[in-house]
Amino acid sequence: MDQKEIYELLAEKLGTAALGFNDEGVEAHADVAPKNIAEACLFLRDDERLAFDQLMCLSSIDWDGYDENGKGKSVKILGYTNEGQPETSDRVGEGDFGVAYSLYSHSKLHKFTIRVRVPRAKAAVPSVAQVWSTADWHEREAWDLMGITFEGHPSLRRILLEEHWEGHPLRKDYQMPDKWDNVPLSGQPYSNNPFPTPVVTPDPTPDQPAGDDPVEG
């Protein structure tokens, strides 16, 4: 089925919650109101004409500093300075968070992409883990790395990082910690190395008696 037709079916079901269809660029996508996303996904899966039985990918997006005009990167990725200290900045992230759902139907052989946008201050989206079980881990990953809460998720906890990690690294305004469990993370200059290589003084070796060289071969 054509992407436009899929969107029309979805818009018929959702009414005003379907926010628009964008087919500019390489891949078309539909925008849906965040609070209706679980309902929309359930419809897309269960409707016989659509039958989207596979959630291919669930991507979290931080739209902070997105510049369509192609002026290069508007947000600098923070790293470590030459002295080995983490770079800091006072910039507070702005712009929305987004989630993109890429769907595929094995029986109808069509694809579709839905996107939602949520404000940065309240980054929460209803969970679709009840619709496709594979969303469970994808949503945990999105929470872990991007900090988007999925309401109604069976157990929303970190999946790739440590459970007591602070912050969400894929956010554009994430700042690296300088220490983790009291261990400096990286980039320490050699002079400040907290674990200096021990200096080993070689034992004075006795003179080898002449003619005792090992025979080669």
Binding site: H29, D53, L55, S59, G70, S133, L161
Partner: protein, 392 residues
């Protein structure tokens, strides 16, 4: 106590099964340093004697946040990071990334480059499947097939070294083509000799040694059956999905590159030794895929056109116009997808990787319940996961 009762009884741990005797579930850590978990994967098992009641995978030991790195380096510099995802078949990972990037860039690729890409991707897939057979046999207690499979993989590594310069991590494909042309010193005919040897002799060896071995079948038939509905629901792809009897392969059903030009079959699990979707079916799909890879390589090399091997200048960084696209390829483990959002610059604004092992492993939470601990090892081996890809 019957397994069904354990599965259905949610308040299991609080009950006294033998009057007067208190019993409880045993919490057992399997991994992260365990030979059967195929990497640094930790499984927290709740077991009742030998029977697994609950499986909770814990991963992230290999996490490097490559998606964050993608936002800091330019498009071409990130190809090396894709090598490190599935380090057993890096060529297919390269292929997935450059395909996605070319979709966003709307970049055409010369036909010769596409042929070379397909040949090296299929060689890499064969190497990955050989490791899958070898380590699966090892998990089941068969030592000899490991040596056989590694011997043939060594030949593939030598061939890929001659074309790319690397033995394990290649960094071979670039947006717009490949980095080097096919070497002039009979590389193509050596590949053809190799696949003829695999088709004529080696596959027969593996089947005699391992596939139709009575003990091996006894360990795998009817074990950890995954039905097609579960496979769809959990997003399983690749040999895991095909082992469940579903004829789906991105190379056929969602063609990319030039795969639509070549003639090959999609092997699926048939339930020859037991039920459709058991461990043996998932294993056998891989053996048969090696044969199909040989067919694709032969066709691709015999119809190799002349011409340039890269559409773009190698040393210049590339730019992608603003836009977003999801693109997927069939890697050796399943559907490997990239969701790339470009803002018009030289760096990806967001690059999300959908890795097949990540989704395939999740099914263990369902399929692993009620198995014996030794059968859980068979299940992990038949899923053929790579932790570099799960943790990224």
């Amino acid at each position: 106590m019957a397994i069904e009762n354990i599965k259905t009884n949610t308040g299991w741990a609080d009950q006294d099964h033998v009057p007067g005797l208190k019993s409880e579930l045993l919490e057992l850590n399997m991994g992260p340093q365990h030979p059967a978990t195929h990497g640094v994967l930790r499984l927290v098992l709740h077991t009742d004697g030998e029977i697994v009641y609950k499986v909770t995978p814990v991963m992230g030991y290999l996490h490097r946040c490559a998606e964050k790195i993608a936002e800091g380096v330019n498009y071409k510099q990130w190809v090396v990071y894709t090598d490190r995802f599935d380090y057993l078949s890096p060529m297919t990972c390269n292929h997935a990334y450059v395909t996605a990037l070319e979709k966003v860039m709307q970049q055409e690729v010369p036909e010769r480059a596409e042929h070379i890409r397909i040949v090296v991707s299929e060689l890499s897939r064969m190497a990955s499947h050989l490791i899958a057979l070898a380590t699966f046999g090892l998990d089941m207690g068969a030592w000899t097939p490991l040596l056989y499979c590694f011997r043939e993989r060594e030949v593939i590594l030598d061939l890929l070294e001659r074309i790319s310069g690397g033995r394990m991590l290649y960094n071979y494909m670039v947006p717009g083509g490949v980095r080097y042309d096919i070497p002039k010193d009979n590389w193509a005919s050596d590949v053809l000799d190799f696949i003829t040897m695999i088709e004529k002799k080696k596959l027969k060896d593996y089947n005699e040694l391992l596939s139709y071995n009575k003990i091996f079948i006894g360990r795998l038939a009817n074990v950890a059956v995954i039905d097609p509905e579960t496979a769809f629901d959990y997003g399983c792809t690749g040999p895991v999905l095909r082992g469940s009897g579903v004829k789906f392969d991105c190379r056929k059903d969602d063609p990319y590159s030039l795969y639509h030009k070549f003639d090959f079959d999609i092997p699926v699990g048939l339930g020859e030794m037991g039920t459709v979707g058991d461990c043996w079916d998932r294993y056998m799909v891989r053996v048969r895929e090696i044969e199909q890879s040989c067919r694709i390589i032969r066709q691709a090399l015999e119809s190799l056109p002349e011409g340039p091997y890269s559409a773009l200048e190698l040393k210049k960084p590339v730019k992608a116009p603003a836009g977003a696209a999801y693109s997927r390829v069939e890697s050796s483990k399943g559907e490997l997808g990239h969701y790339i959002i470009a803002d018009g610059g030289q760096t990806a604004f967001r690059n999300k990787v959908r890795s097949p092992s990540f989704c395939n492993l999740q099914v263990i939470e369902k399929a692993g319940v009620g198995l014996m601990v030794s059968d859980l090892v068979a299940l992990i081996g038949s899923l053929d996961i790579v932790l570099g890809e799960i943790d990224r």
